[in-house]
Point group: C2
Chain length 428, copies 2
């Protein structure tokens, strides 16, 4: 048995292949749902379609401050030829008009006010001249329905306003409130287990002994999981011991919808991680090794819960801090998003609307063919624009991630990027 076989890396696959393999195999996962207040709904995923039970607005409303009129009375009106109208009352906000109007009449109305029967348009204050307390001159014609929102024009009774799988944005909270829907059913956030592995790892709040280091990956993972709408569940630090790793994975699989091992895919612990995943399969390990840098030793697997037929994705993330960040973004996040129940706008699929900025590359980046390189960069504003400076350094250095503003990708089919070339920086 060669070291290469031991590592199980003989079948390194591309980023796309790795993700496709898992996405195709992951067919059964359960989504729970819960009812919450719309005030707490930001970023949550709708578990049911939302249908309006009433027309919105419920009455013809003015969109301007002015006078409700019959548009026909204003036809041909101009500064030189104003239309004289009799003011027969005003419409206090929050009430229905106490009368209707006929030809030659107008009522004072504010933005949002309810139009009286007989009126079909609103003339803005700016286009009238007061004559006396009882009459006005209109100096500009209005068309029928001008400055008016008709009942039901915004939302029609029975209309599906938001769909199952939609991620709630602030304006959706307002739309729900407008319809009087103040509680909604959303999917439960997926619980994501974090299992820190390695004999050398000690808790962050302790003082490491000789040769030991503090657990840090579980903290960045907490942050990444929270940003991706999951609930981080820390399972503690497990030493490189097959039995203890197996029990930790079993516990995690019962309690969570996704499991992340960190520090468990270099040779020291990779065999354990792969073995416990395989022993809880089938299918077990699906991918061991991807052609990206950093992040090559990534393990992706799928295991089953003891009861039921639910499948739980398991990732063995490389221990290096930069590799954890890149592997989370590229592999864990898309799967976690599926587990939230979110359905993204099909128009945006594959468009990757990340927070990015354009810059010029300040130093050439070398790369190997057949490998997708994710290079951390700092940003510098110069007279001629923004420049991205690659931060070189082992992927194990946390300082390179802290100093960097984002990453530049060298695609798999490109051998590096030259100094001065335009690049897109994906911001952290």
């Amino acid at each position: 048995m060669t070291v290469k076989d031991m590592l199980g890396r003989s079948g390194v696959v591309s980023r796309e292949e790795a993700l496709n393999i898992l996405n195709e195999r992951l067919s059964v996962f359960n989504l729970t749902s819960q009812e919450i207040s719309i005030s707490a709904a930001l970023g949550r995923v709708l578990a049911l379609d939302i249908t309006s039970t009433a027309d919105l607005p419920e009455f013809n409303r003015s969109t301007m401050d002015g006078y409700a009129v019959r548009s026909g009375d204003t036809f041909g009106a101009a500064e030189s030829r104003p239309a004289l109208l009799r003011v027969v009352g005003d419409i206090p906000m929050g009430t229905m008009p106490d009368r209707s109007i006929v030809n030659g009449e107008a009522m004072k109305i504010a933005t949002g006010g309810a139009l009286p029967q007989g009126a079909d348009a609103v003339v803005m204050f700016e286009h009238i001249q007061p004559v006396d307390t009882e009459s006005i001159e209109v100096v500009k014609a209005v068309a029928p329905q001008e400055n008016v929102t008709l009942a039901g024009e915004d939302i029609t009774k029975g209309e599906r306003v938001l769909s199952k799988g939609h991620v709630i944005r602030p304006q959706d909270m307002a739309a729900l409130a407008s319809m009087g829907i103040t509680r909604i059913a959303v999917f439960g956030k997926p619980r994501v287990a974090i299992i820190s592995t390695g004999n050398e790892i000690v808790p962050a709040d302790t003082f490491p002994g000789p040769g030991q280091i503090r657990d840090s990956n579980s903290y960045s993972l907490e942050g990444f999981i929270t940003l991706a709408s999951g609930i981080p569940v820390k399972m503690g630090i497990i030493p490189d011991d097959y039995g203890r790793l197996q029990r930790a994975l079993e516990d995690a699989v019962q309690d969570c919808s996704l499991v992340l091992f960190t520090g468990g895919s270099s040779v020291g612990t990779a065999d354990f991680t792969a073995k416990v995943i395989n022993d809880l399969g089938p299918p077990g390990v699906l991918v061991h090794g991807v052609s990206i840098k950093p992040g090559k030793p990534l393990i992706i697997g799928l295991v089953k819960r003891k009861e039921g037929n639910e499948q739980i994705p398991v990732f063995g993330l490389p221990g290096h801090q930069a590799a954890v960040a890149i592997c989370f973004e590229l592999f864990v996040k898309p799967i976690l998003t599926r587990l939230t129940g979110a359905i993204s706008d099909p128009a945006l699929e594959g468009v990757a609307p990340n927070r990015t900025v354009k810059a010029k590359l300040a130093r050439s980046i070398p790369s190997s063919p057949g490998r997708e390189d994710h290079v951390r960069v700092t940003l510098e504003k110069r007279e001629d624009g923004l420049w991205a400076k690659p931060v070189f350094g082992a992927s194990g250095l946390i300082s390179t991630l802290v100093k960097a503003a984002g990453t530049v990708v060298v695609p798999v089919n490109k051998i590096g990027i030259d100094v001065g070339e335009d690049v897109e920086v994906r911001l952290f």
Copy 2:
């Protein structure tokens, strides 16, 4: 007194001017600080610089699985001319080596393991051939420090790792954990008061009477404030009554760092809103009217707390839903960000790294010169790429905001955008 004077809109200013006026006048604001766990620190703003109290790593570490060696022993090594080394032990993870090595010796080591005294490099497993249990052949030379992270190479003792004003990202949580810093001082999140105004407004969970509508803007504002790292504080619905509005503003100013009136800048309530702001000044109202659409009737003011010299920014947001969204993004968010204590990367200033996508415009957008138009668009994927379709409709329609994927901006100096032109869509 003309209606125009009543509205106080004679001095409409540009978006940049409006923001500059407030930013320059807002000089005194207090930031509180609190100590929290790094697990809860995502998105929070550091109130103090973070300095490392130790070197990181604290010992020379291997970045590979392999053998710790003296690099000089491998010089000239090749497949055809391997260097023979005696294996004198291995280094279990989490321990310091129990001995040092001299010329001709090697010790087995895993990624993250501590190098023994005498070793200055690590040969990867892939570049050795086992001879017997006690010796190996090295088939590729290593340079001094190859595959090694030196003590202090990542972070040096006394180095400032993160600065006051920095917004905590997942990788920063890991960096703090690495240094054993598990609690940090962060600025308190700014409390932002939301005062819904208007006689026609009723709570969202009630059934509106004739001419009434439900409060909805306070819900979208809750969402926008949360996204911008503030704490929304709902002050309830206040009718158009000078005394009650004044008491509500006084209460809000005592309790919050920023106050938002919603529904209070159309003519019906604009005079009240402007008056209560002026009466709690000076300076009171700074801006009344900006040359953007939607959002023109925006009021911006600055008032003082009863005690102390702290100044509280107050915004009178137009009541229309689309105007609320645009005014928040353009005016409230930058001020709220200042109040969080966050200091953004100077390289990114003015670069606006929003979530954007490129598209072609599917229908021409007309616009008036001297006005910045923010037009809502839906996105459609066609064979030749992404197309943005303007959603026309009064800014009071919530459905246009719900259906839209984002906005396209027609700059102030441009008269519309033609069909087929490339546009940048700022996603919601």
